[in-house]
Symmetry: C2
Subunit: 103 residues, 2 copies
C-alpha cells in the first residue's frame, strides 16, 4: 500500500544523500520502510521524469558491468522543494492522525 502523493517527496529525500538511479531508489524506499512502501516501476520512472522536467533533478548516464544506469542528482531547486514537502507531510499527516486518534 502506498500513500498517493508521497512518492516525489520520498524520491527527493533519497537523493538528498547522494545521486542514485531509479532501480536503487525504489529498493531503498522499500527497504527503509521494511516493505511497507513499495512503488512499482510503472510509477517510479514517470515520477522521476516529471521531477526532472520540473527542474528538481538532473540526470546523467553511467555504465557499470555493461549495464546503463541513469543517475539522478538533486538540484538546489529540488532541495528547497524537498524541505517544503517535508514540512507539508508533517502538517498533513499530523492532521490525519489527530482526527483518527481523537477516540
Amino acid at each position: 500500500m502506498n500513500l498517493k502523493g508521497t512518492l516525489p517527496t520520498l524520491i527527493l529525500h533519497v537523493l538528498d544523500r547522494e545521486p542514485n538511479h531509479g532501480y536503487r531508489i525504489a529498493q531503498q524506499i522499500k527497504a527503509k520502510s521494511k516493505g511497507v512502501l513499495d512503488f512499482k516501476e510503472g510509477t517510479l520512472y514517470p515520477a522521476l521524469h516529471k521531477l526532472e522536467n520540473q527542474g528538481f533533478l538532473t540526470s546523467y548516464e553511467e555504465t557499470a558491468q555493461g549495464r546503463i544506469r541513469r543517475y539522478y542528482r538533486l538540484t538546489e531547486k529540488g532541495r528547497k522543494v524537498l524541505s517544503k514537502e517535508r514540512e507539508e507531510w508533517r502538517e498533513v499527516s499530523n492532521a490525519v492522525t489527530l482526527i483518527l486518534e481523537d477516540a
Copy 2:
C-alpha cells in the same frame, strides 16, 4: 492539501461517533484538522455513495427546517473496515515519517 486515499477512513471515523450528514462530515474534518484537510463536495458526495455501495454505510433522509438531509450511519462491516484502515494508516504513515526523518 489532502492525502489521497485517506478520505474514506476519515468519513468512517467521523461516523463512528454518531450518524451524520455529508455537509456536516466535511465541516468536521476541516474543523478538527484546523483547516489543513479540506475535501470538496465534488469529492465527498461520490465518496459517500461509494462507501454505501460497499456496504460500509447505510443512509436515511431526514427533514429539518424544510431542508432534506441524508444521514449516514456506520454498519458493522464499516466498523471492521475502519479498524483495519486505522491500522493501515498507522503503519504507512509511520513508514513515510521514518524515511523522511532518518536525516
